[in-house]
């Protein structure tokens, strides 16, 4: 699904070159749930923006679905940002519908996606009337409305409290099972990364390099109790040691 080869990104600040991403190689296969974890400011978001095609690499390449050059492949990709980025003048339905409005060729059921994130009874609400967790659900529904093959998520639940985060993690897993998109998920929470993923990519502190990749061999159908098991705790310990 994604092939990343020798990817490097430099930022030019005050005449100096600052390397944010240093020669990263990574591949993600179709339907896989991959988390990218690393210390704050290590370049996780930059990597995600490179995959999304929002910024151009300094060298190396990102191949999404082996047809990056074709414009239509971009439509198969959705991004969920750190903030919900909802348009305050649009209600839930209108916000979720936005991607379809921007490309009239696309058709999809807005109401189904709103139901999927559990907001059916709030579909006429405006963003300011919704809690942070609900806003992020709207943002998720908007990303899903294109039926993306690839979902890029940049610390989407970072601003939520523990309870809401757990709830949304479970729903994200449910959505992943049902629609089976490829998901690249940036987070700085070790337990969130393990809980969600098939594979955790650990980045080193800036410039970002792939320090290690840990395969998470836990059953795909996961419940919150999984977090208390020894196996889960072992993964946490293992990744924590590698991250430092």
């Amino acid at each position: 699904m994604i092939q990343i080869k020798n990817l490097t990104k430099d930022w030019k600040t005050k005449g100096k070159n600052l390397t944010a991403i240093d020669n990263i190689d990574l591949s993600v296969s179709k339907g896989e749930f991959v988390s990218i974890i690393g210390p704050s400011g290590c370049g996780k978001t930059t990597l995600l923006r490179l995959i999304a095609g929002l910024i151009k690499p300094t060298s190396g390449e990102v191949i999404v679905n082996e047809e990056l050059s074709k414009r239509n492949s971009i439509k198969k990709l959705s991004v969920v940002f750190q903030n919900p980025v909802l348009l305050p003048w649009r209600n839930v339905i209108e916000n979720v519908k936005l991607p379809l409005e921007l490309d009239n060729n696309l058709k999809s059921s807005v109401k189904d996606k709103i139901r999927l994130v559990g907001l059916s009874s709030f579909k006429h609400y405006y963003p300011k009337e919704l809690s942070g967790g609900m806003q992020q659900r709207v943002s998720l529904a908007r990303a899903l409305v294109l039926n993306p093959e690839l979902l890029l998520m940049d610390e989407p639940f970072g601003a939520l409290d523990e309870l809401n985060r757990n709830k949304l993690n479970l729903e994200l897993l449910k959505i992943h099972r049902r629609l089976n998109p490829t998901i690249v998920f940036v987070t700085h929470s070790i337990s969130e990364a393990i809980f969600l993923s098939d594979k955790v990519v650990i980045l080193s502190n800036g410039p970002a390099k792939v320090k290690d990749i840990v395969e998470i061999q836990l059953p795909r159908k996961r419940t919150i109790e999984l977090k208390e098991t020894k196996k889960f705790q072992d993964y946490v310990k293992c990744i924590r040691q590698k991250i430092v």
């Binding site: 999304a52 929002l54 980025v85 348009l87 409005e101 963003p127 294109l146």
Partner: protein, 254 residues
Amino acid sequence: MHKTKNSLKEILFPVATFFIILIVWQLIDFVFKIKEVILPNPIEIFNQIIRNFSTLIGHTYITMFEAVFGFIAGSILAILIAVLFVYSSKSKKALYPYAIALKATPLYALAPVLVIWFGNGMPAKIVMSAMVAFFPVLVGAVKGFTAIEPEALDLFRSLSASELQIFSKLRFPNALPYILPSLKIATTLAVVGATIAEFTGASRGIGHLIVNSSYYLETSMMFAGIIFISIAGVLFFYLIEFIETKVVFWQVHD
């Protein structure tokens, strides 16, 4: 229940203040026997209004006509130029500092020049109103068009939106909460602009009426004119405020 009590107080208190001021004014006038030419008392002004009601309405209509047209022309031009600034950083760099500087200058001083250029009729007043309404709206619109969350732009770009779509679905609605308050400021300035332009040369309008009455020492008529144009200006302001609450409904008001 509690709320209606409060809102009743909110109306009652200012109304009470108004009548207290009138009564005190009337009393001072009665005690010190101030001449009508110097300061007419409320009753004299009231009588003047009753006698000349239709004249006052006629002049107010002229001034407000000029102010509203100037306001509309100035605001539309300001928004169009703000759009130019958003898409051409060169023109913004070259012109915007002057716009900000001009906003702080007393443009009203140009009124006599405008009479020379555009004559004694309405055009000079409309141009004056448009000029003073222009700058606050320009500054508000530029702020609004550019004050966009970077992530919102990323969202639109990740959905491969066109520049036109980004403008119509993101920049423009995003700018409305900035533009509407600037329009409210512009209403006040436009009315002042039209009135001052009438001072410098006109045959109709409240500005003309006030200056003309001063020649005949009809001070109570001057006050009547000031009252009429003030009320019209306030109504104009609240009309735009009403439109603001409808257009920018998502903005939280205190």
